[in-house]
């Protein structure tokens, strides 16, 4: 301890200052300067606000108020009744916070598991790398929704299992991105210099590598959250997430779609909220990923992976000479 107490600080002062708060703040400010980021955050906040403040204003979401699929404005309230005659308004107000909490927990699990696996794979290399990346391939070989459905099928539906299942399907992506980013960072001169100084690997990772991984990690957080929300809501819709008497936007869409012709709001209201939430989180994570791309060296290699659709655009093939020959004929 005393031996390396002085050296890392000396180097840290000279190395690019890896202020954790600074990087994160810069990324967020960058994202919020774009219109995409502003709209995304606004949409997300509106739905999150409804989901968490709603229960304060909601009546009993399981109380019966008359016949099924009653028209709006009657006993069941402004949005009418649902399949059992419960108030759609009360259930919409109470039906969002569980989805958000479960998605957030699943995202946290994916981020922790994935970044540990990715960083270990990058640093240990060799056998550990092979084992971890094979595991990642295997997990990616089953569609996420199908994987979680399979887990839930035998054990039955429990919130903790939804969290574990969704977390496990999202962790491989995080591991891939973090492995690439960690490999990139550890190739840089300042990290090599610190290591050459004799600083133990653990300290190098904690003080010099992890801060540089923070921006790709934030991009992943936003992306994984938007995927998790969709997965969790889909599970509820299929009847394997939140269980029926409890109000839940996914459950509501499933319960009330038989009554679309009588009272469209039982489906339309939760569908609009879920759609707004999905579009909002997606736009915001996109804005963060773009801000990361334009925020200097740490961004470049990781964005290609983060924007999973656009990473394939990064073909390593420049236009060949052949094409020009063909073109001029």
């Amino acid at each position: 301890m005393s031996a390396n107490a002085t050296t890392p600080d000396v180097i840290a002062a000279k190395a690019p200052r890896a202020g954790v708060g600074g990087r994160a703040g810069r990324l967020l400010r960058g994202a919020l300067r774009t219109r995409r980021g502003q709209i995304g955050l606004l949409l997300t906040l509106v739905v999150v606000g409804i989901a968490f403040l709603g229960p304060l204003f909601a009546g009993n979401p399981t109380a019966l108020h008359g016949g099924p699929f009653e028209a709006p404005g009657g006993q069941a309230g402004a949005l009418g009744g649902d399949s059992l005659g419960r108030s759609v308004l009360d259930r919409v107000l109470d039906g969002g916070w569980r989805i958000l909490l479960i998605s957030a927990a699943a995202t946290a699990m994916a981020i922790v598991l994935g970044s540990v696996a990715g960083v270990v794979a990058a640093y240990r290399g060799g056998f550990a790398d092979t084992v971890i990346m094979r595991t990642v391939d295997v997990l990616l070989g089953i569609p996420s929704l199908v994987f979680v459905l399979m887990l839930l099928s035998v054990v039955g539906s429990h919130a903790w299992l939804v969290i574990v299942g969704v977390g496990l399907t999202q962790a491989p992506q995080v591991a891939r991105v973090l492995r690439a980013a960690a490999q990139d960072v550890s190739e840089r001169d300042y990290v090599k210099a610190v290591a050459a100084w004799g600083v133990p690997p653990r300290t190098v990772i904690r003080r010099h590598v992890i801060p540089s991984l923070l921006t790709p990690l934030m991009v992943e957080c936003a992306l994984r959250l938007s995927f998790s929300i969709i997965l969790v809501a889909s599970l509820s819709f299929l009847g394997l997430g939140t269980q029926p008497p409890t109000a839940d936007w996914g459950v509501m869409i499933n319960e009330n779609r038989v009554g679309l012709a009588q009272n469209v709001w039982g489906v339309l209201a939760p569908a609009i909220l879920l759609a707004t939430l999905a579009v909002g989180t997606n736009m915001f994570s996109d804005a963060i990923a773009r801000a990361n791309l334009s925020s200097g060296p740490a961004g470049d290699p990781t964005l290609q992976m983060a924007l999973s659709a656009s990473n394939v655009a990064e073909g390593d093939e420049p236009v060949g000479l052949e094409a020009i020959d063909e073109g001029s004929q």
Binding site: I142, V319, E322
Partner: protein, 355 residues
């Protein structure tokens, strides 16, 4: 005679004609071998996960079949019938041995009562599921064709009229459509075209038993529409991005100056060079569809593999679950290899002899 391998590497890749003899040594063939071996390893590991997740986790198969209120004696009896008292590894090896020969056991659904395990009179899982396979293949195939053509054409047009109305509008629409969960898109489609606004198509694709979806095309429209809305944005974005990149190159500029018509520039000169990323995104879309059909088939009661999976899960029909999940995994692994080969084949710089 075929030349030694070293000479083959040095030969310029254009000399395709005289290759024939040793096609299996070509880089593409070697890549396919390597990827196929890795793919088989991945599939074996997936089989391990599938088996253990469905039979070893707490709340095992016997309880799943009998329900939570079953007496311990009943559970023990069914466990014995299912061979569950043997060691886990032995059971897995036995199951896997049957599985690679295409025997996934018999369905545990209501039609095949408990205790029939191994009985030949009951319906085999593979037979029950394969009957529905064609319907899912049609759904995925039609969706892939429509979304690819639509995405490529719209993407090319947007790239040519960059920052125009179509480009801006298309990009916003793509952003929204790609973010929405499939089941929300599907439910909007139902509201719009089946129930609330127009009543053009059936809200449920309830196929009479024994009939093909091809003889009831009106039931195919809405499921395909929902999946096309979700998958087209990726093709659109990728085509647009790749085309913009290619349109900025010198050789396209040269063709323009020479007076080549815009249409010929688009399809003859630019598109072939923008094709590699597009093929990759189409591959990704197909991969996505393997999972995406589950929700859409569930919404429309479309009689395919995805709906069969949901029904099997609700009925805790473990053999059916195992078979469907493994089948999807095989599709995944094969498609990954095919996509990579496709990209190599359309990339001029790597145009090696086609096997």
């Amino acid at each position: 005679m075929a030349p030694p391998a070293t000479a083959e590497v040095q030969r310029p890749p254009e000399s395709e004609e005289e290759e024939g003899a040793r096609w299996w040594q070509s880089p593409i063939a070697q890549m396919v071998w390597k990827r196929a071996l890795l793919g088989i390893l991945t599939l074996v590991l997936i089989a391990v996960i599938v088996y253990f997740a469905t039979t070893v986790l707490p709340g095992d198969a016997a309880t799943a079949i009998l329900g939570q209120s079953a007496t311990p004696a009943r559970v023990a009896k069914v466990e014995a019938e299912l061979g569950l008292e043997q060691p886990v590894v032995q059971r897995f090896v036995e199951w896997f041995g049957h599985a690679i020969r295409g025997d996934f056991g018999t369905s545990l659904s209501a039609a095949a009562p408990v205790g029939s395990h191994g009985g030949s009179a009951k319906e085999a899982v593979t037979k029950l599921v394969n009957e529905k396979l064609l319907n899912s293949v049609v759904l995925i195939g039609v969706t892939a064709i429509v979304s690819t053509l639509l995405g490529i054409l719209a993407g090319m047009y947007a790239a040519f009229r960059r920052d125009g109305v179509f480009d801006t509008g298309g990009s916003v629409a793509a952003l929204i459509a790609s973010a929405l969960p499939e089941f929300v898109v599907a439910i909007f489609v139902v509201m719009l075209f089946a129930v609330n606004v127009f009543a053009w198509f059936p809200a449920l694709s309830l196929l009479p038993p024994g009939e093909s979806i091809l003889s009831h095309l009106n039931m195919l429209v809405l499921p395909v529409l929902a999946l096309v809305i979700v998958t087209t944005p990726y093709v659109f974005r990728m085509t647009r991005g790749a085309m913009i990149e290619v349109l900025d190159t010198d050789y396209v500029e040269f063709a323009r100056m020479k007076g080549v018509s815009p249409r010929k520039i688009a399809f003859r000169h630019a598109l072939p060079n923008a094709l590699a990323p597009v093929i990759q995104v189409v591959g990704l879309n197909l991969l996505y569809l393997a999972g995406g059909i589950v929700l859409v088939e569930a919404i429309f009661s479309y009689p395919g593999v995805g709906l069969a999976l949901v029904e099997a899960i609700n009925g805790r029909d473990v053999p059916t679950i195992q078979y469907i999940v493994l089948m999807l995994a095989v599709f995944y692994v094969i498609l990954n290899i095919v996509t990579d080969v496709g990209v190599l084949l359309v990339t001029p710089r790597r145009r090696y002899p086609r096997s």
